[in-house]
Symmetry: C2
Subunit: 652 residues, 2 copies
């Protein structure tokens, strides 16, 4: 029976409920070559002595230590050379009193010998003993103690000794010790099998083409959750996408539950998906939680799906312990799904795999923009990192709306804000839970006007982050002190305290189909003709340039700016990408678009020049000491060469 959950579960309850789920805990044998990063399930004791024999630790001569008593540089002892033993060979000679045997490092100590004199303290001479004339003798110029320069059998590790404990994570060095012990297969914690199901009729796998008229979008969560499962030490099992078809989804869910330790679905907030999940859980398991007091992620589900009776031997090869599968339903939006996965699910997968939490999972930093909070539930606030001039970590909120996939890369992690905290002040120290232990702050945060030459410049930098928010918004953020750099094009409304790092100019105008079929000659044709136009968004510098020209034209015609814009078919039809107008003209969705000569070239469109505008890189005055700013200065110098194919560009 489906339970009713009248109140949202608090996050600690969610963590405990998930921690109590059974996610496998099996043991498997793996080849040593495949064991890197795995976790030992059992203690490994040495089965053999290492070394397995008394071993010469230096190149030199094996001797009876007693024969060397009193030997020194002044009064060396002379021993007859009885033979040689190399590493990897069985000694065929014995060291009797008064004799020695040449040995190389790693050789088996010949019978009778109990010490080695290093070769540097010896000299080869001709034996002067009458009986052995012509034979070689060795002058020993130092005394050695018993066992000196010898590694006794078992001295490295003795057979029976505890070598590695259960729970040891296998890095190259542990693998090396296991190799020395002759171990070529090790018992490790099995990776919990995690079935991944994305639901929603609108989802299409990456690589397949989209029907945008039907509102199709590419499936993101299968990729991110599978990679997250892998990173947490689990084995992702990706199931085909089933759409919202009731029966297909039910079959898929049952199959995944039978084959995996944990089933994670996302987008399961749609009514039909929840219906299926409820039905399967009702028939075969238990719903443990529905709804969590966390933003984002409120609609999270946690449950358990038992395997059919008499089928306790499942595809996982496990017995009773795995006769049920855990189920977790994640929200559908990519950032929400990955956040909830990372905070609540990944720790449980790591625990089942025996993997420790990564040491780099969190980073502390100073919040540089205040954050109000009136949710009454835990908020996992998406934030991004940037370093100040001293290398200290600064943290700023990223809120592009939870549907934005670019937040995946524009944010670096989340800050947890308690339900009863209602305000985080700028300057406060916060702990960021990173989306991935490999996340590092970008070396440079630039915001503002997107531009083809800027893209080249960014390509030459190491780990830059650029947010294409447009010139106007870029300036606003620079005023707030958040970015290192604002990229500003065209006329701007007011000045901001900044350091000019460099820049270039670009030619802009009207993009028309190749051959200019409507014979567009300038802005006047837009107003006086009846041509479908596609404009840029208000924040862009290109739009600012366009509006300034329209103002000039309005003045010249003695009319109001609004009269002109009202006459343009599509003045309000704005798009945010540099290339978007060009693409619409190329697709014949518009007759004229606002854009750059370089973009027209790239898309083989006609171009009607209107003007040139400067693009300036304005540096945050507080970040002048950052090495990345110098790197930008250097990169600007290389732009004339890197951008030689960009039409309409002038570099300084």
């Amino acid at each position: 029976m489906t339970k009713e959950f009248r109140t949202l579960a608090d996050p600690d309850t969610v963590r405990e409920t998930i921690a109590d789920l059974d996610l496998g805990g099996r043991v498997e044998q793996v080849d040593l070559r495949d064991a890197r990063g795995r976790v030992l399930a059992e203690r490994i004791d040495a089965a053999i002595d290492v070394p397995g024999f008394d071993r010469a630790a230096m190149d030199g001569y094996a001797v009876q230590a007693g024969d060397t008593v009193g030997a020194d540089e002044v009064e060396p002892v002379v021993l007859n050379l009885a033979g040689t033993v190399h590493a990897g060979a069985e000694p065929d000679v014995t060291v009797d009193p008064g004799s020695c045997v040449e040995v190389s490092t790693g050789a088996v100590m010949p019978p009778g010998a109990n010490a080695v004199v290093v070769v540097e303290r010896t000299d080869e001479i001709e034996a002067d003993d009458g009986d052995t004339a012509g034979d070689t003798a060795i002058e020993i110029r130092t005394a050695v103690a018993p066992s000196e320069n010898v590694m006794l059998a078992g001295a490295d590790i003795a057979a029976g000794a505890r070598a590695l404990g259960p729970g040891t994570r296998l890095t190259p060095r542990e693998l090396g010790l296991l190799s020395a012990l002759g171990v070529d297969e090790v018992p490790v914690r099995a990776r919990p099998r995690v079935g991944i199901i994305s639901t929603g009729d609108e989802l299409v796998p990456p690589g397949d083409s989209l029907n945008s008229e039907r509102g199709e979008i590419h499936d993101v969560n299968t990729t991110t959750i599978a990679a997250g499962v892998d990173a947490a030490g689990g084995e992702p099992v990706v199931y085909p996408h089933a759409g919202d078809d009731f029966e297909a989804m039910e079959n898929l869910l049952r199959q995944a539950a039978d084959e995996c330790d944990l089933v994670v679905s996302s987008g399961s907030t749609s009514a039909s998906a929840v219906d299926v999940i409820y039905r399967v859980i009702e028939e075969r398991g238990e719903l443990l939680l529905h709804g969590v007091a966390v933003k984002p992620g409120k609609p999270m589900l946690v449950g358990r799906i038992d395997h059919p009776d008499g089928d306790s031997e499942t595809a996982t090869g496990a017995g009773d312990a795995a006769a049920r599968s855990a189920y977790i339903g994640l929200p559908g939006y990519p950032v929400s799904a990955l956040t909830i996965f990372r905070v609540f699910v990944a720790p449980a997968i790591r625990a089942a795999a025996g993997q420790p939490a990564p040491t780099t999972a969190t980073v502390d930093g100073e919040l540089i923009a205040q954050q109000r909070h009136d949710e009454g539930r835990l908020r996992l606030l998406s934030v991004a990192l940037i370093e100040d001039a001293d290398g200290e970590t600064l943290v700023y909120p990223v809120d592009k709306g939870s549907g934005a996939t670019t937040s995946l890369v524009d944010a670096d992690g989340v800050v947890a804000i308690d339900a009863d905290t209602d305000y985080l002040a700028a300057g406060e120290s916060v702990t960021v839970q990173l989306f991935d232990p490999d996340v590092r702050p970008p070396t440079l945060l630039a915001v503002g006007e997107a531009d083809p030459a800027l893209a080249e410049l960014l390509d030459s930098l190491d780990r830059p982050r650029f947010l294409p928010v447009g010139s106007r918004e870029g300036l606003r953020r620079l005023r707030e002190g958040i970015p290192d750099l604002a990229v500003v094009a065209g006329p701007t409304d007011r000045a901001v305290d900044a350091v000019d790092i460099g820049g270039w100019s670009r030619e802009w105008g009207l993009l028309v189909p190749d051959g200019n079929p409507d014979s567009v000659d300038g802005l006047g044709d837009l107003i006086d003709g009846d041509l479908p136009f596609v404009n840029r968004n208000r924040e862009s510098g290109l739009r600012a340039g366009f509006d300034a020209e329209l103002d000039a034209l309005a003045d010249a015609r003695g009319v109001d700016h609004r009269d002109l814009t009202a006459a343009i078919d599509g003045y309000e039809a704005t798009v945010s990408g540099v290339e978007s107008p060009a693409r619409r003209v190329a697709d014949e969705r518009a007759a004229v678009g606002l854009g750059l000569r370089a973009t027209a070239d790239r898309h083989d469109l006609g171009f009607v020049s209107v003007g040139t505008q400067s693009v300036r890189l304005l540096g945050n005055p507080d970040r002048g000491g950052k090495p990345a700013i110098d790197a930008v200065r250097d990169a600007v110098e290389t732009l004339p060469a890197a951008c030689s194919s960009l039409a309409g560009y002038q570099f300084e």
Copy 2:
């Protein structure tokens, strides 16, 4: 021609020479599912708008924003419901003035609509319009602006925009963005192929049996270097071990050079190996360095092997750039080989793969034992880490001799000591280059007497490190203040300032073959009989107990201790493992061994009891606050249950 290298190269020259080697730099296309951790070779621009359509960002009603002007809770606006659009469906309805359409999150905005009113601000009512009686109408209780709750096409990322730059490391979040863009295959930096060759007749792969009479040992370097190559972003190619056979080794080296970007051999310090390498390099390449002023690692080789003429299209699939292979020869001892690999070779592999250095590659700590240095060359000192009671990292040198494979796990990294530094004082702050970015300090450092019950105790702790140095050496190190805990058994010569954490007692005596064929009754039979005996090493508490009993016997007999020990055949034949005497008795290499009742049981041997001795866990008084000490206390409580099968043990 083979060059002569009269002086050792300095470490910076080595780094530069290796950095100048050509290790590939190819680009390959990989499936997105296999791309985690790889590095983008090229910039990825968005090929499509995301979303590809104007998209409802909330569940609610699509409206013409103008229709909602003035709507609020007091004076709602009523709009006729014209239909519904779900996510993944093509709208079959238009929003005309005065009407609205129900939309779910993700749905395509129906034609005519330009905003969404969230469902929470609406109510469904019956239409009161005469013409549409019985139809549904929607009460709108808020005004919305154009584009409110709508994500416009391309607003997430616009077609043509720079999405990810070259050099970006692909973590789950970047893979998510690529999925959103429909990308299912990405151009990444190819992993440089690194051929791994271990040389030496004495080496046997793990898993194969050893002939100890021939001095065979297991090959460790192939495992550690292959794992290290993998960790650095390279593709290890393991070649079969060729022994010191001249022709076989030459063929192997040529094959590896033809197939790989880099060939790494270890153990190449043996004269025959160096001969082969010289010959191949002389014929086909260039020796760049031979001998490096670093300890360990002096015999390192760096060179280049050209591919045969006309064979520039090699198995690597590369052209001219890969028409030569780099060669690096590492020392043979495992710790030396891994140290040199990590410090000099791994950075070059990472650079070729485009991988950044791990953020956790180094850790700073306080040296707690002084270190003299008079090498005149760079010393890479093996060290281990331990935390003090405040969680601060302490560093102590580990010097077990470079042949010891246990140093791989007993040390955590190296401290580089310059050639012109001759002394590091205790208390000095040092930077440790970790053997692996996953290395973490153990939670507990225990040293002293190995014991079967102790092994159980260690198994129950998280990341303990135990060094089985014996009771006597354990006490000495505790006096020096290095370990958290010393494990001490039997009589000790002097007291040390310590905190008693707990302990147990164990029964010890003489191990004899099953059935006690020589009818051994006690120590007297050892002295008076002619039985080959195997003793424990002087540092062990078991030996101390044995010697104390011999003293008592000597007193009783009125003879000197030495007279008794001289009469024991094998008194000086000591072994260091707890189980070593038992194994020798079981192998019939000795008739009597010194050991525990529990060990006799385990090996199905006869046992002649001599006494019981206490085993104490002595805590370092400065480390009382460490959580691991409390964990040890707790673990001691569980020992009676965990060790119920250990014969002869008494717990408190």
